[in-house]
Subunit: 311 residues, 2 copies
Amino acid sequence: MRAVNALILERMGSPVPLIPKLAKYLVEAGGKRVRPLVTIAAAKMIGYSGDAHLKLAAAVEFIHTATLLHDDVVDESDLRRGKKAANLVWGNAPSVLVGDFLFARAFMLMVDAGSMDALHSLSRASSIIAEGEVRQLAAKGDIAASIGSYMEIIEAKTAALFASAAEVSAIVADRPQADITALDTYGRELGLAFQLVDDALDYGGLSKDLGKNTGDDFREGKITLPVVIALQNGDETEKRFWSRVMTDGEQDDSDFDTAMELLEKHGALKATLAMAEEKAQIAKDALSGFPDNEWKSALEELADFVVSRAS
Amino acid sequence: MRAVNALILERMGSPVPLIPKLAKYLVEAGGKRVRPLVTIAAAKMIGYSGDAHLKLAAAVEFIHTATLLHDDVVDESDLRRGKKAANLVWGNAPSVLVGDFLFARAFMLMVDAGSMDALHSLSRASSIIAEGEVRQLAAKGDIAASIGSYMEIIEAKTAALFASAAEVSAIVADRPQADITALDTYGRELGLAFQLVDDALDYGGLSKDLGKNTGDDFREGKITLPVVIALQNGDETEKRFWSRVMTDGEQDDSDFDTAMELLEKHGALKATLAMAEEKAQIAKDALSGFPDNEWKSALEELADFVVSRAS
């Protein structure tokens, strides 16, 4: 991971001062680097001895960071990685453009890695992410959303990049298709678990710890699984409540508390986290065909860690 | 070009309805398709017989369209290709995300084209474009801008993609480096000419035809070559005028007329177009080593056409 971090800092360099300034602001805020970690650990697990995986891991983090910068413009977010969102510090324009820069640099890194199949995987994932984001935008405030449509959205906007981050290791290592597919499954299910937990954490998770970074989805009218579950089990009065706050966006100070009560009443956060655990288990099971080693253990622990964040 | 248009329509497809709707809005508004035309004509000129150039041409147009969508968010533009800008119709969020989608699809097309060297060229160009856009943003209202810094910005934001659009044809055709370099020069100089003319047209060009789409740069405080020339030749009173309208953004109804008078006084539009003609000539000269055929003539005529737009 130290090599990946060095590569990230090197490749975000530009003679245009605002670019490294803004990119560093976000990168140093220190995402959890979960996605590149998946690429590195998977490559090590299967005994890959080259160095293309480092470039692909950095590329994956660049794609992710680019989508964060653009998401902040799209969502009009206030905070990102615990810091004031970049678009509020420098304005929308640099966030859009530096996102584009990082996206382009991600593809340069992939070209350097030299695998056309890895490029295929990550460019396809990038296209799917954008589709997922547009779907999520179109679904804003739609209280008729089903669990199925929610799952499709998070599979596209989050799980596709995790899946690609995992499978590219087997691709550059020239492993058989079965290994590529197994790692794709690991990454995809891990990504679903990750997003489900994130969506539960936006309502404080099981501990109902309502610190900073909670309530964003609620304020933005994003219909995540906890809300879908509460809606499906709610009566007409409750549906009218969700319709007012999520569809019409009419929210007052007490509404978030009411929302929390409704989620509690219908066990919505518990159910969301149960589904996350299920996905994490499928992720771990997908690794069963690989020989046991410390890297396989690391990937299994990562799946457990992702779920444990919310309890 | 019909094949490229068909490919463009096919590859912008998505099951997410808003994506083709927004992409079509822009693509059908009918850009001039100058960039893909360069790729196609160059490939034909050198006798390339495969079909990778079609995919690369479509990829080039996607990259260009993606940057237009993002530029509109960055510039807060009102009009694009003579229609209301997409961000004003659907909001900033879809413009950002559909731009990302088209950018990702561009890379999928390049992967399909199968040339790692072409991918290198176009991903590098994409990174340079973003750098150029950030530089342009940082230079907004900077009345100390030099001709050199202006040229660097337009080389990055516009000419780099033209250069890549031209050279990828020789790359997929496996031509010697000298041919690749010659086409890179053709594209780069054509791109510079194109942008110089655009910047002159924003003040009505030589005919001073102030129809729609003029005055955007002035309103946005973009310091283009005509203004740089007027500034370098202006007295203190004039400098104070430019500083007020461009740096401080304090503009009233008569200011654009005053700006036009100052450009006229210093022959700024004429000088800008003379530089464009020079660049177009260098572009044509770069083709001298290629055998004469109808496609070479088409590329030469394109260089003439680009310049003739403003007279």
